[in-house]
Every structure is written in structure tokens, then in C-alpha cells.
Amino acid sequence: MTATTTTDAAVRTYRDYDRPLWQRVLLTREMAIIALLLIVALIAIPTVRGFSQPITLTFLLLDVMPILLIALPMTLIIITGEIDLSVASIAGLASVLTGVMTQAGVPFELAAVLAIVAGAIGGAINGFLITVVGLPSLAVTIGTLALYRGLAVGLLGTTAITDFPEFWTDLAKARVGGSNIPVVLFLFLVLLLVFVVLLHFTPFGRGIYAIGLASEAARFSGVRVERTKFILFMLSGTISALAGIYYTLRYGSARGDNATGLELQVIAAVLLGGVSIFGGRGAIHGVIAGVLLIGVLASALRLANVTSDVINIITGVLLVLSVVTSSFLAWLRKRRRAPGGTPRVEASTAG
């Protein structure tokens, strides 16, 4: 193994292969975030009163579930170098649609499916404007952020719909048997599996990285850039609508302002999890750790009676630090690479 990688490194300058396997796996941004998550949890367990109770895990998972769900498609979108700011508004719209239809006598299950379809359509509108019309995703989704939220608030006006079948509202909070694992976690795990396979083990997923690294090169290598992006935005709309329905059931209330501001929490967690905002880099396990890190921090600090402003400050500083570190490392890498033609081997021997 070592012998082959060394000879390879001499020929190829692909940076990952001049290091042994364990280094390639462990010395990554994703692992740094996972380690940080473990450190925070290990510090919190003995020092924060009440944190070590098993119920903490239940509340934590229920709280971060919408963020976890939406983070899956968001990761893929950000890896292509695009962004979707309309996710929280789609979640709000799906929440309201479910509520309005249920109130009008449509069975809840059908209403939920229709709301998810509406979410997919909302995502498809984003995708159409970005890939067919060719507008930047930032501008398009800022627009649809306002548009979908406006529709949600407009549809329901000033009221909240709270009459949902108890079976479903209970299911949203139910735990497996006598344990502290929420049932809804399994929905997430299924989706997680789908997204991990999609991103890391299919040509479609490798195409996503190729688009993020160099869109034109990807196109000439046969990656269908527009189609890929369109599918991703549609997926994002669908999952956001699903998260919106979960949100409705968890709080038992369909309101126009449900999930307001969730998009920023999702994007913050994705970036914290090691996905580059410029595209081309990131992995799902890092993102999951990023979401959980923000959740664990907030949970521990709340238990320790730290006010919400301080929690926001700490989360913000953490995010800025993580982005700064990755930019700094990229700059270092570039500087190291720039002067000579093949600095990689020298660097390795020097190190």
C-alpha cells in the first residue's frame, strides 16, 4: 500500500494519495468537526447539570430534525457551488398547505402528500429559473424565499390551524419502545442512506463534485450540469416540504411563520460541517456532525442557563472560525504549491 502510493505520488500530484490511508481518513475537516462534537459532549456531560440525562438526546434529536433533513439536499446543492435560501419558506408553505387542506376536509395523509408535491414544484421552479433561464441561485432563491413565505402567510392569514390527527402528531414525537430514540430518526436514517449512496457512490454524485470544482470541465466530461442542478433543487424542495410537515406535527400547529429563519441554521451547519461555500468539497458525515455540534452546543448552553444571545454569539464565532480556518488552509496550500512545479513530493519529505 505504502509503496504504491509513494510511486504514485511521484507521478501524480493528486494530493490525497501522498499520505497513508489512516491520515487520509482521520486528518480531514470532517473528522475535526466530529472530534469537536465529541469534545463538547464529553465536557458537557460532567459539567452541565442535566445534560447527561438520556432525555437530552430525545429533545436534541427532535429539535435538530428539520435541520438534519434539509441539510442533506443543501449539502449537495452547496457542493455544486449553488445555494438554496428558499428551504425554510418551502417548509412554511408546506406546513400551511397541509393545515389548510386538512381543515377543508382532505384526509391528513393526502394533504401531506400534496404538500410534498407542492414542495417539489416549488423546488422545480427554483431549478427552472436557475438552469433554464440561467439566473444565479442566490438571487432566485432570495426571491422565492420571499415569494413562498408570502404565499404561506397569505393563505392562512392571521390564524393557526391546530387540528391534526393525534396518530400523526404523536408519531412525530414518539420514541422507539422505552428508549430515547425518536421514531422520526428512522425516516432521517433512510434518507441519509439514500443521500450518502447518491453523493458518494454514484456517477450522479461524482458529477456533483465535478460541477463544483469546474463546471465547464464537468460539462465537457459528459456531466449533465443543468439536469443535475435541476434535480437537486427539486429534491431540496421535496425534503424541505417534508421537514415542514414534520415541523407542523411536532408543534401541532400550522402557521405562516413556521420555520422562519431555518435556512440560515441549515446553511450554517452545512458550512460548519466542512462543505466549501465555493463548491466542490464536502462530505455528508461532516455535515451531520456540524448539525449535531450546533444542537449539542445550544442544548448544553441552555441547560447551563446561558441566554440565547450568548448562544448565538458562540455559534456565530464557531462558524466564522471554521470558515476562516478553511480559507487560511487553502491559502497556505496555494502558496506552497505556487512556486515550483512539483512541490508536493518535496513538501512530503520535508515534513
Binding site: L27, I39, Y251, L301, S308, L329
Partner: protein, 345 residues
């Protein structure tokens, strides 16, 4: 070399973040201890107030009253809350308080339904739940401390505006957010009360979202849209102060009457300069004070929240639990130029 740098960078980030976490923990381990369950069981007089949001002078005053009461009977006072008045953020705090095992939670609900399950989980864990100022559904709490009956509040505001505009003309309402439980109930009742005043027409209801600047702008827009407006009712402390600030510097000062629910300290300036003749409110400090004593009675098991239960509330005297587990603080109080000097909250 390169990956050493990279590792160093990762470690730096780790260390920095861990330091932040440690700092956070260091801040709180002290206060976390005081909020503890030292007494245990029914002697656990750790009462935590969870207002709609922090940094709101109204809730600062009610919490001050609560602290006074809790200091009197030797319990532990704490206040937590979200920065923004949203129901989902209150749920996180209720869950946290359940985990901490406080004796009682006193909450002003941002949504009557959304925080219900979290409150019921807290009650299952033995935490007493008292709502104050803004209620949840009755099955989610042990007691609701009502600041005044909705009918009383609606009536006093209509009486005040009728008196100030000579019982005839166009009026408008500047409310809080469109979802606010209290304000919507009062507005409905005010409309009913207006049936006794046939010459007064309610021409518009606008929402300032309990935000000073929004309320200020909505006041300006109201006066533009309805040139014949003779009076404004603002049943929210943020709204009435913002409206008074607009009126006092505009040509409408003294011509358009303003009343509603306000606090003396916010309104003093405008009562003294003649912008506002009279406004109403209860005393939020008394509300917090009564809420704290009700929580104490529940924790100690003196009362269970049944109709007819009665408990003692320090300087305020004795109170009885009414229908639906509700305790009424008293009649609204009218503040005007003659008595405003006696109050400081």
C-alpha cells in the same frame, strides 16, 4: 509538512472552540447550581419565568415582581427566554427546564397550542406549570394568572376613547402581531362593546408586530389613510408608546386621541405634554408577584388548580381559583395626569 500545517490548523480550531465551550460552562456552572433542586420534591421552590421574549420592558417588570415575591418566601428565581417571540424557541426552553427539574415554570405563551406538548411533558416530570399574561390551552397548564378579564380590558379602552372623542367619530386599532392571542380576543370584544356606541366607527385594524419602528410607521400610515380619524386604540405597550411618539411630534397632536394599554414610565412624557389624556393597564409587577405565589402554592401542594381553591399571595392578599383554573389579578387600572406620578414601572 503540508498536512502538519493542516493538522495544526484543525487543532487550533478545535482548541479555540473548546475554549469557548469551557468559557460558556464556566459562566453557568454557578447559576446552574443556584437553579438546582436542592429541596427536592414538593419543597423545590425553584421557579423559572419564561416570558415571550427577553429584553421586553413589560416582562422585565413582571419578572421584577416575581423576584420580589420569590425572595420573600425564600425560593429560587430564574428567568430564561428566547430573543425572539416564537413558539418553537419556547419549546426548547421548556424542554431544558424539564431536564433541569425546576419546581415550576411560569410561562407567557407565544402560541396557545404549539408549546402544549412540551408543557405536558414537563408536568409529567413533576414540574408545575403556571401561565401568566398569555394563556395556553387549559389542559396544558395547572393555572393561568389572568391580568384582567378580556371584557374588562375591552370595556375600559372603549370607555376611555369614547370619553376622549366625545362618543362620535372614526377610530382605528394599532395591535401587536396578527397572531397575538390576547390582542385578538380584546379586539373582538372591543367590536362588541362598540355596539353600545353607535356613533363611533372602527375603520381599520393594523399590526405593528410589537416592534417600535413598525408600530411608528403603521401609525403614520393610519393617519395618512384616514384623514378623519379621531382616535387610536393601541392594546399593546410597544404600540401605544410608538404611536404617542409619532403623534407628539406631528400636526395631529391633541387632535387625534390615543389610548390603550401602556406602562407609566413609557407614557409619562406623553401624558405630561398632552398627547395622551388617559390609558389603562394592570400592574405587571403585581402580575409577576401573584404568579410566583401561585406557583409556590402549587409546588407545596396547598392548591391543585381546582376551581374554588384559595391561596395567600403576600402583600396582595388572598386569591381564589375561578373556572378553567384561572386566577384573576383584578380590574384594569386607569392612569392619567393626576396619578401617573405615583407609579414607577
Amino acid at each position: 509538512m503540508f498536512h502538519n500545517k493542516r493538522r495544526a490548523g484543525a487543532l487550533t480550531a478545535l482548541a479555540a472552540a473548546a475554549a469557548l465551550v469551557l468559557a460558556g460552562c464556566a459562566v453557568d456552572s454557578g447559576s446552574g447550581g443556584t437553579g438546582g433542586t436542592e429541596g427536592g420534591g414538593s419543597d423545590n421552590l425553584a421557579i423559572t419565568f419564561l416570558p415571550k421574549n427577553l429584553g421586553n420592558p413589560y416582562f422585565d417588570t413582571s419578572s421584577a415582581g416575581a423576584k420580589e415575591a420569590i425572595d420573600e418566601f425564600g425560593g429560587t428565581f430564574a428567568e430564561v427566554g428566547p430573543a425572539e417571540a416564537t413558539p418553537d424557541s419556547q419549546v426548547s426552553y421548556i424542554n431544558t427546564l424539564t431536564q433541569q427539574g425546576v419546581g415550576a415554570i411560569a410561562v407567557s405563551a407565544n402560541d396557545p397550542e404549539a408549546i402544549c406538548d412540551a408543557l405536558n411533558e414537563a408536568r409529567d416530570a413533576g414540574v408545575k406549570v403556571v401561565t401568566f399574561d398569555s394563556d395556553t390551552n387549559p389542559e396544558c397548564r395547572d393555572l393561568f394568572i389572568n391580568q384582567a378579564t378580556a371584557e374588562g380590558i375591552a370595556k375600559v379602552q372603549i370607555d376611555l376613547i369614547a370619553d376622549q372623542i366625545g362618543d362620535a367619530g372614526e377610530i382605528a386599532i394599532l395591535s401587536a402581531s396578527a397572531n397575538a392571542t390576547n390582542q385578538n380576543a380584546w379586539i373582538e370584544l372591543m367590536k362588541k362593546e362598540l355596539e353600545n356606541h353607535p356613533n363611533i366607527t372602527l375603520v381599520d385594524t393594523v399590526y405593528g408586530d410589537d416592534d417600535d419602528q413598525t408600530s411608528f410607521d403603521k401609525t403614520a400610515a393610519l393617519l395618512q389613510t384616514h384623514p378623519n380619524l379621531k382616535g387610536i386604540i393601541s392594546p399593546t405597550t410597544v404600540g401605544i408608546a410608538a404611536a404617542a411618539r409619532y403623534l407628539s411630534t406631528s400636526e395631529y397632536k391633541g387632535k387625534v386621541a390615543l389610548t390603550g394599554l401602556g406602562t407609566p414610565n413609557q407614557m409619562r412624557e406623553y401624558v405630561e405634554d398632552g398627547t395622551v389624556t388617559a390609558f389603562a393597564l394592570w400592574n405587571p409587577a403585581d402580575l409577576g408577584y401573584l404568579t410566583a405565589y401561585a406557583a409556590k402554592a402549587l409546588i407545596e401542594g396547598t392548591i391543585t388548580g381546582e376551581e374554588g381553591d384559595s391561596f395567600e399571595a403576600g402583600k396582595l392578599g388572598d386569591y381564589e381559583v375561578g373556572a378553567d383554573g384561572t386566577v384573576l389579578l383584578g380590574d384594569p387600572y386607569v392612569f392619567d395626569a393626576d396619578n401617573i406620578g405615583d407609579f414607577d414601572f
